[in-house]
Symmetry: C2
Subunit: 176 residues, 2 copies
Amino acid sequence: MSEKNDLHEKDYKELNGVEGQKKIAELAKGIHICMMTTVSANGELSSRPMAVQDKPFDGTMWFLTSSTSEKIGEIEQDRHVLLTFAEPSDSKYLSLKGIANVSQDRGKIKELWNPMYKAWFPNGPDDPQIAVLRVEISEGDYWEASSSKIVMMTKYLAAAVTGGAVPVGEAGHVLV
Amino acid sequence: MSEKNDLHEKDYKELNGVEGQKKIAELAKGIHICMMTTVSANGELSSRPMAVQDKPFDGTMWFLTSSTSEKIGEIEQDRHVLLTFAEPSDSKYLSLKGIANVSQDRGKIKELWNPMYKAWFPNGPDDPQIAVLRVEISEGDYWEASSSKIVMMTKYLAAAVTGGAVPVGEAGHVLV
């Protein structure tokens, strides 16, 4: 269900330009935890909740994590990650594909740090175990509830900003 | 964050036996849509919301979908799937690893059918486009909020039922 070829064409649109980023930002707003999926060496998928930075979506997502966590090893072998956001109370579902990059950039860690991270890193932002995960989003899909369908899909594709005016609807495809 | 090696050992337990299945059932209850992640031929991950059958978790998850949907092609190439469930209002996050199998078993389609599916298959359960996805869950992880941590992790591993009594807590690891 819910994929392009499962829907009537009228329910499926593509979003383009900065409008697409704005739409993603609007949907992700208020969702403080996403699930990050990585691929392990044996081809298995694994996922875990990750705290989302409280800033509008601009095509790049940043996370703090432990440099010894399982996902870091997985990302070093296969940089494909998928971020999924769900808000059942609003029937909002968002899936963002990206390529992850790991660093231990101390300046970036301090920039991203907020007191919530103390639950994982009680020693604060100077803890040498902290790593930064930068995920460059290449494309995404999202689904919103409507009266006529349980969920409707929109496609988002991160690419060169075209500046072209493209219709934006409840469902569509985004080129950013 | 939130993985075993990111947490103090006291926050991480393993659940075993039927208790594990019951715990998963308890957590998944009331979450009517999960995200199903599959792997495409080029190694990219993709995910989409899927309606969850309204019955207690017993180690197998069943879905109805279109036989022409993108995920069916992906599953035919790589049967690894990941199901994630999120309920932000309760700080519940659940990730289940499994192996998917596609069929067009008419009897099973009729058994799983409910009127909600009419949104995707207006012609009803006899629509020849409908396929059944059976996902055998091999293991899972879940996270629940606590006062001391934003999320706490529990590991669930589907295996032979041991019948052994294993402590069940707010966080742990499940052998079913």
